[in-house]
C-alpha cells in the first residue's frame, strides 16, 4: 500500500497543514527558560546533595533545603512494617489508603469517601518486563538502595543489583575501574542542562553474572568508590558498612511489577493515583514513569499520621505527592486544586475497598514506558 492509495481532499489537507503549522508556531521556544528551569531545579538538588556530603561526618544526617520544613518525618519504607495477609487485606475495606499497609501481592482497590467525587477509571496490570534480562537488565531487579538524602530523598541515592547473565558492557560509554576490576559506565556530564546527577556502572562479577550500579546526585568517583565495596553473596548486592549519612532502604516483598492506575474526579478537580507494588523502590526506580522521586525535590506533609512527600516544583494548577504503605508505593497527581491543603484533604479521604470499580466513564488503555536503567527506555503498546 502506498500513499497514492489514499485519497484526501486537497482542500482539507491544505487546511490541516496550515492549522498544524500555525499552531506549532504558537509553541513557546523557551529554550532559555527551559534551561533556566532545569538548572534551577538541578541547582537546588545539587545544593542539597552538596549539603548532605558536607555533613556526612555527622551520624544524624539532616537535609536542610528550602521548603523542606518537616525533615524529621520519614516515609514508611522498611519491610518491618506489619503487613496483612491477603485475607486480612480483604478485611481492610474502608481503611485509609495513605496509612493502611497492603501486601505487594494484593491489589489495592481504591475509592474515595466523598459524595461529590467518583472513580472515573481504574486499571491494573503488570509491567512489560518484570524480571531482569539481557534486554532489560534493570527491569524487575531486586536492588540494594542506599539513601543519602534523608526523609525526602533529596540527596544522593545509590542503587545496585545483579543480572544472572553475561551483558554486553560495551553498550556503556566509558571504561572505568571498579576497585581492581574493569567495568564500564555512563556518566552524565555536569555541563549538560538536563542530566547532571546520574552515574550508571556495569561490570562482570563472574563468568555468568553482571553487576550494575545506578546512582543519582553523586560524582562518578563517589559511585565507583561505593561500587568497589559491594559484595555479591546473595541475590541482592550488599555493602557491609554504608557510608555515614546513608541508610539502607529495606527491600519490599516479592512479586514486582504490578501497577494500578486510578483516576478520580469531582468534575472540576482530578486525581490520578499510580500505585506500584515495589514499595519505595518503585518510587525510586527510573523505569517507573510515574515515579520521579529519584529526581524530584519534595517537602514532607503529615495527613492523619501518614507522611506524604509533596513536590516542591510543580505547576501552579498541578500538584503531586508520594507515599508508601506496606508493599505499595503511591504517586498522586492532582489537577485543579486551589491549594496544597485542599489536595491533601482529598488524599486523606482515599479509601481501600473490596469492591472493584464499575463506574468507569471511559476505557483508558494503559501504556507502560520502560525506563530501563542501563539499556534505555523501551515501550509497550497499549494493552
Amino acid at each position: 500500500m502506498t500513499d497514492s492509495d489514499f485519497s484526501i481532499d486537497e482542500q482539507v489537507e491544505a487546511h490541516l497543514r496550515r492549522t498544524l503549522s500555525e499552531v506549532a508556531l504558537t509553541t513557546p521556544f523557551a529554550i532559555t527558560q527551559a534551561r533556566s528551569e532545569l538548572h534551577r531545579t538541578n541547582h537546588r538538588v545539587l545544593t542539597m546533595a552538596a549539603g548532605v556530603l558536607l555533613v556526612a561526618g555527622a551520624v544524624g544526617l539532616v537535609v536542610i533545603a528550602e521548603q523542606v520544613d518537616e525533615p524529621s518525618q520519614v516515609l514508611d519504607v522498611t519491610d518491618s512494617d506489619p503487613v496483612p495477609t491477603p485475607a486480612e487485606a480483604s478485611n481492610q475495606a474502608g481503611g485509609r489508603l495513605l496509612s493502611t499497609p497492603v501486601r505487594s501481592d494484593v491489589q489495592p482497590i481504591i475509592t474515595i469517601e466523598r459524595t461529590d467525587w467518583r472513580v472515573a477509571s481504574s486499571e491494573s496490570g503488570a509491567a512489560a518486563e518484570s524480571t531482569p534480562s539481557t534486554g532489560c537488565p534493570g527491569c524487575g531487579a531486586r536492588r540494594l538502595v542506599l539513601n543519602g538524602g534523608g526523609s525526602n530523598f533529596g540527596g544522593p541515592l545509590f542503587t545496585a543489583w545483579t543480572l544472572d547473565a553475561v551483558y554486553d558492557l560495551a553498550r556503556l560509554d566509558q571504561l572505568v575501574m571498579v576497585g581492581a576490576v574493569e567495568g564500564r559506565a555512563n556518566v552524565s556530564p555536569p555541563s549538560t542542562p538536563v542530566v547532571q546527577m546520574r552515574v550508571t556502572i556495569g561490570w562482570s562479577i563472574d563468568a555468568n553474572r553482571t553487576a550494575f550500579v545506578d546512582a543519582s546526585r553523586m560524582t562518578p568517583e563517589q559511585a565507583l568508590e561505593l561500587a568497589a565495596q559491594l559484595t555479591f553473596e546473595g541475590d541482592i548486592p550488599a555493602l557491609a558498612t554504608p557510608p555515614v549519612g546513608f541508610e539502607k532502604i529495606g527491600q519490599s516483598d516479592a512479586s514486582f511489577g504490578e501497577q494500578r492506575v486510578v483516576r478520580l474526579t469531582d468534575g472540576k478537580r482530578s486525581l490520578d493515583v499510580f500505585a506500584t507494588n515495589e514499595g519505595v523502590h518503585g518510587l525510586l526506580n527510573w523505569r517507573n514513569p510515574f515515579a520521579h522521586l529519584f529526581l524530584n525535590v519534595t517537602r514532607s506533609r503529615i495527613v492523619d499520621g501518614a507522611v506524604v512527600l509533596v513536590d516542591v516544583d510543580d505547576a501552579p494548577d498541578r500538584i503531586g505527592g508520594y507515599w508508601v504503605a506496606g508493599g505499595w508505593g503511591y504517586r498522586a497527581d492532582g489537577a485543579g486544586f486551589g491549594s496544597e491543603s485542599e489536595f491533601l484533604d482529598v488524599l486523606g479521604d482515599l479509601r481501600l475497598t473490596d469492591v472493584p470499580n464499575t463506574n468507569q466513564e471511559e476505557a483508558m488503555p494503559l501504556t507502560y514506558e520502560q525506563f530501563d536503567s542501563v539499556t534505555g527506555w523501551k515501550t509497550q503498546d497499549d494493552t
Binding site: R17, T19, S21, T26, T192, R263, D272, G336, E369, W377
Partner: protein
C-alpha cells in the same frame, strides 16, 4: 522537528539548542497541550542524552521518543484538555485555524498522532506505520476515521 534528519551534531548542547523547539512543537501538536508538550520534549531530551553515545540518528530518536511519550501521556492529556479548553479560543487569533485545532485536539490521540505525523512532519504512511510499530493498513484506517470526523466539523 523538520529538516533535522541530517543532524550529525556530536555536541549534545548544540543538539539540544537546535532541536528542542521542534520537539516542543511536535509534543504540543501530539498532546494538544503546550505545557504537556514541553514536558514530553524535555523528557525525550533526557532519554536522548542517556544514550547520546549510542544513537546513530539523534533527531530520529528524539522524534520517536516524543511520539511515544506523547502517547503515554494520555491520562494527563485528558486533564490538560479540560484546562486548555478554557484558554484556547484565541490561540492563533486565526478563527478557522483555532476552530480546526480545537477539533483536532478532540480526536483520540492515536488519530491525532497520525494526522500530525502525516501533515506536520510530512511522513509517508509507511514511515508513520514504522514509527508507531503498526501495520500500514491500521495507519490508513486510523487516518480515514480521523478525516471522516474532521470533514463533518471543519469550517
Amino acid at each position: 522537528m523538520r529538516d533535522l534528519g541530517g543532524c550529525h551534531e556530536t555536541n549534545f548542547d548544540a543538539f539540544y539548542e537546535q532541536t528542542l523547539p521542534g520537539a516542543m512543537r511536535l509534543g504540543h501538536l501530539l498532546t494538544g497541550s503546550v505545557s504537556l508538550g514541553q514536558e514530553v520534549a524535555q523528557d525525550a531530551m533526557i532519554a536522548v542524552h542517556r544514550h547520546w553515545s549510542e544513537i546513530e540518528n539523534p533527531a530520529a530518536y528524539l522524534r520517536t521518543t516524543v511520539v511515544n511519550l506523547s502517547r503515554s501521556a494520555q491520562r494527563r492529556l485528558i486533564r490538560e484538555r479540560r484546562h486548555l479548553r478554557r484558554h484556547s479560543e484565541t490561540l492563533t487569533m486565526i478563527p478557522d485555524v483555532d476552530e480546526t485545532w480545537e477539533q483536532l485536539r478532540r480526536l483520540p490521540v492515536a488519530q491525532r498522532t497520525v494526522l500530525v505525523l502525516r501533515f506536520y512532519e510530512d511522513m509517508s504512511l509507511a514511515e508513520i506505520a514504522d514509527h508507531l510499530g503498526k501495520p500500514v493498513g491500521t495507519v490508513k484506517s486510523t487516518m480515514h476515521r480521523a478525516l471522516a470526523k474532521l470533514k463533518d466539523v471543519l469550517p
